[in-house]
Symmetry: C2
Subunit: 413 residues, 2 copies
């Protein structure tokens, strides 16, 4: 009964590309003679993402047909005619020299940043990555300089893309003290089952949790109970891959999230905190589809979406890069996402009359204070306190300590 309430993974079966331990040795031997392709830290994040099935039914880095479909249609047509959402190109770039070294090889070995072989890419296809401008324009809807993922990943990358089927030698680990939070879609599905969840609602974030977030997560739970679900479970799912330099680092955010649960702002009994290993694109309506799609594969059947998801300020103009409403609109219309229930949420803000975070009431707009991520960071940097009730005190302390120690570090350099 309960099992059937978990949403099916895209394509019906959850992809799992991690080689069974019994085969590892023979694969290692096979790898020795293969041409080697070096991975960056962010390439490794994608290996992690693909290997655990977040991008199911994708079984490796995209070949050209998948790349073009992703760029033009944000979805892939499968052989049986079904359509799955796939809004971001999940690709591996190589340079001329690596391409030359690969020659006519059918398979290559992928080498992590520490020099160890982490995976095999089988039945490879190498195709052009010359027109980066087009990739950027179609993914971000702008080619303005200063897009974090473009600067970090695409601009320095090689002129070729290599696709193929991935076999990962062992689960990807980071040894940063947070690996126990890195639950795979398979592990999450097990956890939901063992908790007897009859609804799973996912909340994607890359910022500290304030009481406005908590309000809407708790409100969502209330709504689900009203809809007749008996045991809705919240997947609080911070993004763990690449983020831009001025975002709060993952370890600080995880500590802050722990405090929020310890303080009882969110109920640990009905909340699972785990890390979503994807790197961040800041590609707004295009990226929010990826965020939602990956959570389908982890078993979520409800997805909370707010104002301007995965958005940021325009890097060169004084405006938001995306219309703040487009994200949720595009999400509700996106091919392949119709089995997911999209929950657009009301805007929360600080209510100066009630001294707490509350849903914005336009009839008394002047009572409300909007505290953006930038404003929150400014408070923490300056050691100022935000209005009482904005965030639980122990969570706020984590942020203040982080900013003070990073300022101390800067000052000592």
């Amino acid at each position: 009964m309960i099992k059937s309430s978990l949403i099916e993974p895209d394509g019906g079966t959850l992809v799992d590309l991690i080689v069974p331990e019994s085969q590892r040795y023979s694969k290692m031997t096979e790898i020795e003679s293969m041409a080697k392709v070096n991975l960056t830290r962010i390439d490794m994040e994608w290996v992690h993402v693909i290997s655990e099935g977040w991008a199911s039914p994708l079984r490796g880095f995209m070949r050209e047909s998948e790349y073009l479909q992703s760029l033009h249609f944000n979805c892939l047509r499968m052989e049986d005619g079904s359509v799955v959402n796939m809004s971001l190109p999940i690709v591996l770039a190589i340079d001329d020299e690596t391409k030359g070294r690969i020659g006519s090889s059918l398979h290559v070995a992928l080498v992590g940043p520490l020099g160890d072989c982490v995976a095999i890419l089988r039945s490879i296809e190498i195709y052009k990555h010359h027109n980066k401008e087009e990739r950027i324009a179609r993914t971000w809807g702008t080619t303005a300089p200063g897009l974090p993922y473009v600067d970090e990943v695409i601009t320095p990358s090689g002129d070729w893309l290599i696709g193929g089927d991935l076999e990962v030698l062992k689960p990807i680990k980071y040894s940063d003290g947070l690996d126990n939070y890195r639950l795979s879609p398979k592990q999450l599905r097990k956890e939901f089952e063992s908790r007897k969840a009859d609804a799973v609602f996912a909340f994607q974030l890359r910022n500290p949790v304030h009481n406005g977030h908590a309000l809407l997560m708790n409100d969502t739970r209330k709504r689900l109970l009203e809809m007749g679900y008996k045991n809705p479970i919240l997947l609080l799912h911070p993004l763990g891959g690449f983020t831009k330099a001025d975002d709060v680092p993952l370890d600080v955010r995880m500590e802050q999230h722990s405090k929020v649960l310890e303080d009882g702002v969110l109920d640990p009994e009905t909340t699972i905190v785990a890390i979503f290993p994807s790197p961040m694109h800041y590609a707004g309506p295009t990226e929010v589809q990826w965020h939602a799609k990956a959570r389908i594969n982890a078993g979520a059947n409800f997805y909370i979406v707010g104002r301007d998801p995965a958005g940021m300020a325009h890097p060169t103009e004084k405006r938001d890069l995306y219309d703040p409403d487009h994200g949720k609109k595009v999400l509700t219309m996106a091919p392949g996402l119709h089995k997911l229930n999209i929950l657009p949420f009301k805007v929360a803000a600080y209510d100066n009359r009630e001294n707490k975070m509350a849903f914005f009431d336009p009839s008394r707009a002047k009572d409300f204070l909007f505290i953006s991520g930038t404003k929150m960071r400014a408070y923490a940097k300056n050691g100022e306190n935000p209005p009482n009730g904005f965030m639980c005190p122990s969570g706020w302390k984590v942020l203040v300590e982080y900013y003070q120690s990073s300022q101390a570090q800067e000052a000592s350099q």
Copy 2:
């Protein structure tokens, strides 16, 4: 029997938005009290396109939901869950002043460039057109300055888009001596039926027809006969709307096409020449889907696609704007186009050994001369003859006369 061989229009029924003559008077009276929206020449081309059902099942200028789906997914999901291709935003822009004048009206009147009311737009929706950068990036895959449709249409356009259901008072005419070539999808379907076509293969072009084109059209016919079709009909379908300044004008092209048929390079018995009224975007893989989709609505079940369809040179870099192979690849993968048979064609070039246009044979590459549109125009401008057999002499004469008279005009100014 023959009827069933014509492909169904998208959405099942061909849209026809031209008001029956019996209702025209009452509509004219109704219009008097409506807020007026002025159309540019190119807006009128879109009114023409929509009114005749080329964009079926679209019944008017796009509302926001259609606009966003077109931008992000190149297709629309219909209420019954089916998907139709819709790769270009078909939208009507208005400025602040017009928006103010419309106020809370439900319906507006559309006024042509000559000042006459041409249509009603019903149940309107006005939404933002502020982020033109995003529209351009997602449609063209670049935001480089110098894209012809952007410069002509988008950059000067207002900051709002107005969508709604279109009712056109009477068929759009141009009175340029070419209206008899402007067959609607309905008229084309009738013509195919009356010719007892059991296959219709469409050839989109915006250039003069040379013997390389003719070779592949005749070759396609041969292939269709070999496939068992008894009476394949060619729809030679030059684009008649906006084109960039250095393209050959429509009237000259139509005269050139007539000569090609008079000379018997193409067989008039199995060819229909008609004008496709759409404006040109030069948006490569995105636009070629529109070109193909519109021909489904006209009844074509085969679509010929060549190298770099709807492409052009990058406006600021020394390269093609698009990978020349992407157009046909994207076309074969595009949502909603699977009922159309895509016929990628072999490249034709001038064979110096045989002194004729022939399919390029890579085993003796050096025998072949590639004559681009630019090179062809240069020959004609300089009064030089292209190699014998490149184009039928009477067709060539039309081009030479056009370029000589336009040079004479320039000289006299």
